[in-house]
Subunit: 292 residues, 2 copies
């Protein structure tokens, strides 16, 4: 739950330019990766599948709003930066590969993919560097346990791309080297691949006393989350660096919470700290009931 | 149900050599495509998903036996005919693409894919034409309504390929041009894309009087099924012809029933004719109950 971190810092420390689209400290209600039950890790979790009242499909309107906010920025970046001449010189324009990493059941993903493919079509047609618009192949990625049946069953009937399901962790390689033209990920990279070990180790200075978030915690706890997040994002980027073709583009929409004070990253979260503690406590009670 | 046809004839009439692996007139209990309900077509159907007692996963031991029978023949063909030098000269050996068209929930497919990838690895290593074995990408294809969740959830944990879900009809293009190195399909091509219109048209000479099979029927009925099957197989082959790379291979395992007399294709089926009529009658009763 409380695995958000101020990504801006990490990115900028790596010399990567960041364009802010959303600043928000809210968290999804429906995804917990590696939740802690009695100090042990309980494996990977995905969003709630299906179309029911508790499904991600019906509880992701906030994330849908994020797509709307990101839309004009992504469109502008495609227009400005997608290098069709470089792509076509590599002989790669028969098919154009797009991947959405962490797509869940796809309801928001389909909107984003429609926007992305339209922008790319427009760019290709305006430059007239290739004789025809290539065939689009869209790889919808999420954990193996994701509800791909709902995703495939909800695909827009009138679409101009071949949908493909790509199960697996985006922290590793999923596609052939130099195959991907456009990488996209929205509201997914904040989820850690695992709970930082130090925060669940009572003998560690970063022990988090059973809480599932770092709000109001000591700096050591924040650093432990930060360190895990940095590792995960690095693994994601290294995998995509291998998969992306030269001249391709990547658009990542990431939740970020800017600290009120750059010196004290904890100060920004005090408004939701008590709420997060309550939710964390409920989650642990629920986990105990399930496991008992 | 009774959409089997003697494929050998059609293939040989097209000048394609056929190597018989299985001669059988049995049909799967769990797949009906475009079943007829009161003379109307009811859309595409897939195998029963999940892992329950009525699932395809637990009712496909016959089809599993088919994989065992086909195994030595496919291995031999890979050893003899897979042209590694041609594939590597095309610069395609960083990744090796395999597709299983009509894989259902994958339990039998995984066995076949393991056998195919091992044979290819062996072939590549024995020829020493490339410095290392390429990464394998396996596209598991079936209708959009197929149970891909069960397929992904059942993937062998220790496997040396990236599994990819490819939803859609194999009667059309699914993959980029010249991308596929090995096409495979087992016990799937006998299913028609639609019921032949003439057999459900009371004014046609090929009207089948409400029956869902052609056993013991007039030649016009057999011809109507044959004609539809020829169209479907042609569409399948045309799509694969575009997708396969030069030097690639295709292995199709297809049920076939050889007529006792080449002049009278009906004579071979008399032993199961009454059984098929009974099953057909039950199916129609069930369909009426569902639709009423």
């Amino acid at each position: 739950m409380a695995q958000l971190y101020v990504m801006r810092r990490w990115w900028q420390s790596r010399g990567i330019s960041v364009r802010s689209m959303v600043n928000c400290s809210l968290v999804s209600k429906h995804r917990v990766e590696n939740q802690v039950v009695d100090g042990t890790l309980q494996g990977l979790h995905t969003m709630t599948g299906g179309e029911g009242p508790h499904s991600y499909a019906h509880n992701s309107s906030y994330q849908r709003g994020v797509v709307d906010v990101a839309k004009p920025i992504i469109e502008e970046e495609i227009t400005k930066k997608l290098d069709i001449s470089q792509l076509s010189s590599n002989g790669l324009m028969n098919s154009f590969w797009i991947a959405d990493f962490g797509c869940s059941t796809g309801h928001n993903s389909f909107l984003a993919i429609q926007m992305i493919t339209r922008s790319i079509q427009k760019k290709i047609q305006s430059e007239r560097l290739v004789s025809q618009v290539p065939d689009f192949y869209v790889f919808f990625n999420d954990q193996v346990t994701n509800d791909f049946n709902t995703l495939f069953g909800s695909l827009p009937p009138k679409r101009h791309y071949q949908a493909i399901g790509l199960p697996g962790s985006y922290h590793g390689r999923l596609l052939p080297k130099a195959s991907l033209h456009f990488a996209y990920s929205s509201w997914a990279l904040q989820w850690l691949s695992q709970v930082p070990k130090a925060v669940i180790d009572p003998s560690s200075t970063a022990w988090n006393k059973g809480r599932v978030h770092y709000l109001g915690a000591r700096q050591e706890v924040v650093d432990a989350y930060s360190s895990q997040h940095a590792k995960d994002v690095e693994a994601f980027l290294e995998a995509r660096a291998q998969e992306l073709v030269s001249g391709g583009l990547m658009a990542l929409v990431i939740p970020a919470a800017t600290p009120k004070s750059a010196e004290d990253p904890n100060t920004s979260y005090t408004d939701i700290q008590s709420e997060m503690t309550l939710i964390g406590s409920c989650l642990r009670d629920m986990a105990k009931q399930v496991s008992s």
